[in-house]
Symmetry: C2
Subunit: 233 residues, 2 copies
DNA sequence: AATATAGTGTGTATTTTTTACACTAAGTAA
DNA sequence: TTACTTAGTGTAAAAAATACACACTATATT
């Protein structure tokens, strides 16, 4: 492709904020960098977009190369373009996020495919240290995004195991929103959405009364959120 | 700044979707391009980001250069990065939007500062033709954004003259949401937000009963939207 | 077998918000 | 004075959000 565009020393990259939920904790996927700059620092999985791939494809590839996770559907949330955000040149980075099901999925032990990362680790939010580049800021914005989104769209299911109890769902909401919710009101609201399928199954292996298990009903969810964006008559 | 980053023939650009509202019509600001590619086509005001400026600053500069509009605060809404979106090379573009007050503001007659654009024109949405590049898609996404946002945040005031009637406000909502609203319910809702200041003034120059004028109260608005993001107890 | 424990599961009254719906009042123009 | 055009208003019903407390059930322990 011939170009008459100016040639800057500029590149664009993708950084991924992947949320998981396990053992009652909200986690994100971090890599330990194996190259300069910020060698040995923890960072979001991120890398440079190739010339011949779209941003969405790049996001998927990059996440795979750095963490081994495949086929994760991510959404864009913001693009970061401060002049000095990268010490080696002008790099703008497009932030992508996803929420994925961790528990019970042993495929999700992350293993870097390239040696750009030493390892990839699910890190509880409570244990976050200072990250490389401006990744703290990027993470913060992603977290704002899901906190915001969850308060008007029931998207939290993506983080839970396929079968979950209402208490687990409530805990997840409490962790993301950072506040206690009322059990009765929470259940009423969730069940009223009509997007949960009650199963004939109960929790197992708990040393107390086992709770009913539920499944998320994707079809009803899709129907529900077509008619959204109200403003009444 | 020394760099060891790969040097791609890639650049990033900004495209601006600037909404205005005038004579009961919603408009966006378009330029007629004066350079290839897409010479003589209508397009969103957009150009390439310099190496030493942040995206936000670039957005402001670019809008100014192409339309003469200065000091417009814009927000990012999406980044477009399909491989072939620009015929001359790999360009990703960050979309910014703003809603601005048109009526009664004669400074807003847009005049390009560079000769990259022949002219800049406020174009009613009804008169939109096929735009250059993927600008139709970019515009569509910006419009979705404001439609979405307006249904949970009263941001429409930015488009109205400083003093406006409730009927004008309602018309604006109707245009953006593309549906008729009930006058009584609309007024009740707006007044209940408590972010409108009723003035001791009436509309002038109309050949029928003049309506009361209102002003938007920025301070109360700010207060209101701090306590948002509910989910009750 | 009895008891302790820990989490499950449920109902109701109150308040707030949303919705539906139609007429009179005021000002201008003829 | 009348005709016209838009401004301005209230209420009832339904739906959604909130506040609030206790009995039940399964298991583990003694």
């Amino acid at each position: 492709m011939e170009t008459i565009l100016p040639k800057f020393d500029s590149v664009f990259s993708i950084d991924c904020v992947i949320f998981g939920f396990d053992e009652g904790e909200l986690k994100i996927l971090l890599i330990e960098r194996n190259v300069e700059p910020f060698k040995d620092w923890w960072a979001l999985p991120g890398y440079i977009v190739e010339q011949d791939e779209s941003l969405d494809n790049a996001a998927e590839r990059i996440l795979y190369e750095l963490t081994g996770l495949k086929g994760i559907y991510m959404d864009q949330f913001y693009t970061f373009g401060d002049v000095n955000r990268h010490p080696q040149g002008r790099v703008i980075t497009v932030g992508y996020y996803a929420m994925i099901r961790l528990s019970g999925n042993k495929d999700l032990k992350p293993v870097p495919i390239t040696n750009y990362a030493k390892r990839a680790v699910w890190t509880p939010l409570g244990e976050l240290r200072k990250l490389a580049f401006d990744h703290d800021k990027i993470f913060g914005r992603a977290f704002d995004k899901i906190r915001n989104k969850i308060s008007y769209q029931p998207i939290a299911f993506e983080l839970l195991p396929e079968k979950f109890t209402l208490t687990q769902l409530q805990h997840l909401y409490e962790v993301i929103l950072n506040k206690k919710l009322d059990k009765r009101n929470f259940r009423k609201k969730m069940l009223n959405y009509g997007i949960l399928k009650e199963l004939d199954e109960k929790q197992k292996g708990v040393s107390y009364r086992a709770a009913k298990l539920y499944k998320f009903d994707k079809r009803k969810y899709a129907r529900l959120f077509q008619k959204e964006l109200s403003f009444g008559k």
